[in-house]
Each structure stands twice: as C-alpha cells, then as structure tokens.
Point group: C2
Chain length 341, copies 2
C-alpha cells in the first residue's frame, strides 16, 4: 500500500455544500412521496403525504444532513500517516492507521444519504409537533405558515408521527448495499437521539422549565438532549456510514457535543439579536415565554464568548481525530457559530 | 435427524397466554423506565417517563405482543414432516422441510420479546395521540383517564413521540444475541406498518372520512392500514424472530391480514353492542361521530357473518403454513373474533 502523503485538493466549502444540498433535496423529494411506496402494496393517503412534504421540503438549513455527509467523508479520508489514535479503536485496520479506500467508500454513499435524510425527517417532525398549539403554538416556520396552521392540528400530529416512522424505514432498505449491521446501528443511534433520553426528553425538560431559573448545568443538560443529541447523532451516523466504523469515534463524539451545544447558545443569542424576517421564525419568543436561555442566564457577551469557546473545542476535537481531511466538518462548525439565522 | 412424528403436548391456551403476559408485562416495566437508560449517559426526564409508563403499563389486551410470540413459536415448531410448502421459500433448509431446533430457538426468545414490546409501544403511542383533543378527543381509555387528561396535551404529545422512538431502540440492542439482519428486518417491518403506508396512513383516511359514505373497499383499505398493518406486522415480526425466517411466510401473511380485518369488524360490532364499562372506553363513539363502520355499511348481521368468514380465512391460512403447531395462533384468532371487549 502506498503510504506517501498526497497533498489535499483545495476545498471549496460553498460548492461542496451546494452539491450536497442538491443531493439531499432530490433524495428527500424522492423518498417523502407517494411514489416512495413503490414496493408497498398501496400508496400513502395523499393528504397526509402533502402535509409531510410541506414539513420537509423547500426549507431548512439542512445542517444535520450536512453533518452526516461531512462526517462520512472525513472518516473516509482516512487517518493521517503515522497518526497514533489515542482513543479506543476496535478495528484492527484503523488501529494501525491503515484504511483501504475501496472498502471505505463502498456502499457508504447510499448509507450516508439515507442517514442524512432520516435525521432531517426526525428534525422536521419535531418542528411540526413543537409548533402545535399545545406546545409552542407557533404560526411561522421557515417563513411559511406552520403545518398545523396550513393543514389542521390532526394532520400535523399524524404527519409528524409518520415522518418519524419514515426515518426508520429509510434506514432499513431491503436488498440494498448497506450492511445489516450498519442499518441496525444507524437505527439505534437515531432512536436514542430522538427518544426520551434525547430530543423528546429535552423537550420535556424545556416544557417543565418555563418560568424557572435554571442553573447553567441544567440549561446545558436540557439543550444537550433537546438539540444536541440529534446533532451529535448526525456526526456519529455519518461516521457509521464510513468504513471502518470505529475510526476517530471518540473525538468525533466530542466534536458533535461541542457543536450541538454551540448551536443552541447561538440560537439563544439570535433570538434576542435578530429579527423575525432574518430568522424565518418568530424572534423574541424565548423572552416572551420566560424561557431560560444562555443569554438570560449569563448575559449576551458571556454567551458570545461561550459560543466561541465551544467552537474552539470543536476544532480541537477535529484535530484529535487524526483524520486526513476534516476541513468540511471544520467549515460546518464555523457556520454553526457564525450563522445569522 | 429423527423425523418421526412426535405427538404434540396438549395445549392449555389460557396458561400459555398467562405466561406470556407475565413476561411481556415484566419486560415493558423494565424497558419503559428511567433505569432502561443504564447504558445511556443520563436518565430520561422523570415526568416524561411517568406519562410513557402510564400509557403503556397496567392495561391493554396485549394482543399484538401475543401474536408476535405465538408466530415465533409456531415457526419454531417447524414444518410438518413431508409437508411441501407451496409458497416461495428462500431458505434451503426450510424448502426441504427440515429445521434444526437448536438454530431455531437460539436468540429467538430475546428477539421475540423485544419485538413484542416494540409493537405494543407503537400501539400505545398511537392510542395516546389518537385520544388527544385534536383527534378523537377521548377522555377514557382502558377504564382510566386518557394520557392528555392526566398529564396535559403537551406531555401526551411528547410521550407518544418518545414511545415511538423507544420501540425502534428496543429492536436494536447493542451487543445482543440478536443478529443485525434480524434487527434491521424488524425495524423495517415495524416502520412500514407504523408509517404513512400503514397505521398513520389509515388514521389519515379515518380523519378524512368522517361523515362520508365509504364503499366496502374503501372501508377495508382504511382498516387494513389503520389497524391491520400493525397486527399483520406483529405476526410477521414473530416469524422473523424465529429461524429460519422464511418458513411459511406467505401463509402467515394471509393469517395476519385476516385477523387484522376481523379485529376491526368486531370492533365495529362491539361499538354498537357493548357498553362503556365492558369496553373500557366510550361506547357508541362511531355512530356519534358519524364514522363509517362495517355495521353502518352492511348491518349488524352481515358484519357478524363477515367476521366469521374472516375467522375461517385465518384458520385456513394457518393450515396452509404447514407448520407443526399453530394452535396458539388459532386460539388467538378465536379470541379476536369472540372477544367481548
């Protein structure tokens, strides 16, 4: 095997993102559709599918899908020559820092695209349910009327439920190139991140904490579950889609945790500094509802400094992976912290 | 291999059911709990878990788990000596009607119990969401206040969402005896049965059909999705938990379809013939809400005759499986049709 170091081709992050977004939008359009049931006996009811498509298509930053695809590419780029991973590593090849590029990319494209879309479906369903009158009662999302405003509450409830199921269906295609072990592992990561010890659990804490004074630890725990778990799962699912699965896992886990929390800190900052038209959703909702945020807890300046510190943690974690090319993950971390909406 | 025919031990269906119910209740109590997250970093928020447990524990006929466990046992009983399966069969051993009992039971116990509980979690979550004010607005379920009455609408919404995620988490345990291929297949079956081309799709049709005159085909399609898909998936998931997976699949599929539809026809009959205290839920709701039912469509006598015909179809399908021992599945089909609540 040739172990000479090949200089990396210069990265154009914007065009990488544009390419991935094209791919993700196309895939979502294909998979969230009545035609997706080609191997099913009957098509899904058209009205329900219309609400599901409205919730998913034509909107959103697609941050989670981008993280899945970027993590998969980073792991596929292999470990740096002579890099000695400091973390646990259950794969012999990876332990020796040797990766077979053929094995690395085989089947990982389809798996990563499915994982990217599955994570986005979970995110989309959570927004639909979150916006309902019994939760945040929001009428504007991504600059459009929310799903329950457009389709009614019952349809919004069902569309969210069906999107969650569809996420797991996307991860378990029959007769595909994706190994069963990968399918099962992807389902496991996504189920945990979405459930009571993840996103749903974080939302429950959120609900219960309105009007309360949380400590920084409690606030971090809430966001670690509510937003962080799914962002972190995106990174880990991308890594699972690459082969061998275990390379750089612990460091990627830290990267995911750091950007997950940074995302929320920046969300809290934007809620007080941006206007509704920039955000595409109602600004100032946190203060209006007396929700605990990083800004209310530590003040605007300290929150900004904290976001920068988390950004540095994320970049350090990427350096610790020992992977050849983590520039896209680095660029996404920059975006998370520097975004204006 | 000894191919002599061993007479079957007489079956005591009641005590079989009692044993399985004990097992299922214990497993649900263990898996739907804050302690279930022993391998997670943090426990689920206690309030959310309380609502989830309220929705799942201490109630319900557990028909779906019983079907999973019964189908697994039936397939594990093997094919009858000299039986030539008429259906597609992708397993060489099964094609020859030979089953290794060791291989048959290895790991199938845990898989079947997890599948049984996962299906019940999906069923339980669907009831929680179905009972909400924006859907059926029901206040009584299994003789208790519904989840949204007891815990509030937001908690009911989240508890349902988290139960769905937990179902898929149950199916994908890390480092267990359950093969990845089984885990992936179980997720696939459950996701399809729960989603827009299954249960959620059927509920959408249900919503849209209030006050409409449906044809018998339309009514059957609605119930095939709304109730039938999950009942049928229960049977198929049980079969997947047994090894080899493919034995008698087509006939079991027909069995599942027949009892799925029979279940709904009997539900429609009970809604007009039983009282609320027997049902454990509000009787007469269908007529009150002007919902199309088999009784409103064909009259009570014809609906009863139809339930009997579906019962016969289910028994014929069991005979077609060629399996040694389908007596439990037969008993469950009897229960579905003869039940009084």
């Amino acid at each position: 095997m040739d172990t000479r170091i090949t200089p990396l081709v210069p990265l154009d992050l914007k065009s990488w993102i544009a390419r991935q977004l094209d791919q993700v939008e196309l895939a979502l359009d294909r998979w969230v559709s009545v035609d997706a049931g080609a191997d099913l006996e009957h098509h899904a009811p058209a009205d329900l599918m219309a609400a599901m498509r409205y919730a998913v298509l034509d909107g959103g930053k697609r941050l989670r899908p981008l993280l899945v695809l970027a993590a998969c590419e980073a792991v596929n780029s292999g470990l740096k020559h002579d890099y000695l991973p400091i973390e646990e590593c259950d794969d012999e090849l990876a332990r020796r820092g040797v990766i077979d590029p053929e094995a690395a990319t085989q089947g990982s494209g389809e798996a990563a695209l499915r994982a990217a879309c599955a994570v986005e479906l979970i995110h989309a369903y959570s927004l639909v349910h979150d916006d309902m009158p019994c939760m945040d009662n929001d009428v504007l999302r991504r600059g459009k009327p929310t799903v329950h405003v457009q389709f009614g509450q019952a349809s919004a409830l069902l569309a969210g439920d069906a999107l969650q199921a569809l996420a797991f269906e996307l991860l378990t295609p029959e007769g595909s190139a994706i190994a069963s072990a990968q399918q099962a592992k992807l389902c496991r990561l996504l189920a945990r991140a979405a459930g009571c010890a993840g996103m749903a659990g974080g939302q429950a804490i959120d609900l219960a904490s309105v009007g309360l004074q949380l400590t920084e630890d409690q606030l971090r725990e809430m966001h670690r579950l509510k937003t962080g778990a799914l962002l972190q799962a995106s990174v880990m699912m991308g890594a699972v889609c690459a082969e061998p699965m275990s390379v750089a896992r612990a460091a990627l886990h830290r990267y995911g945790a750091a950007i997950g929390l940074a995302f929320q800190v920046v969300d809290d900052i934007l809620d007080v500094t941006a206007d509704s038209s920039t955000l595409g959703k109602t600004a100032g909702k946190d203060a209006e509802h007396d929700k605990p945020t990083y800004v209310s807890l530590m003040g605007l300046d300290a929150a900004r400094a904290y976001a920068q510190a988390l950004h540095r943690q994320a970049l350090q974690a990427l350096a610790d992976t020992g992977l050849v090319d983590t520039r896209i993950l680095q660029g996404l971390a920059d975006m998370v912290v520097q975004r204006s909406n």
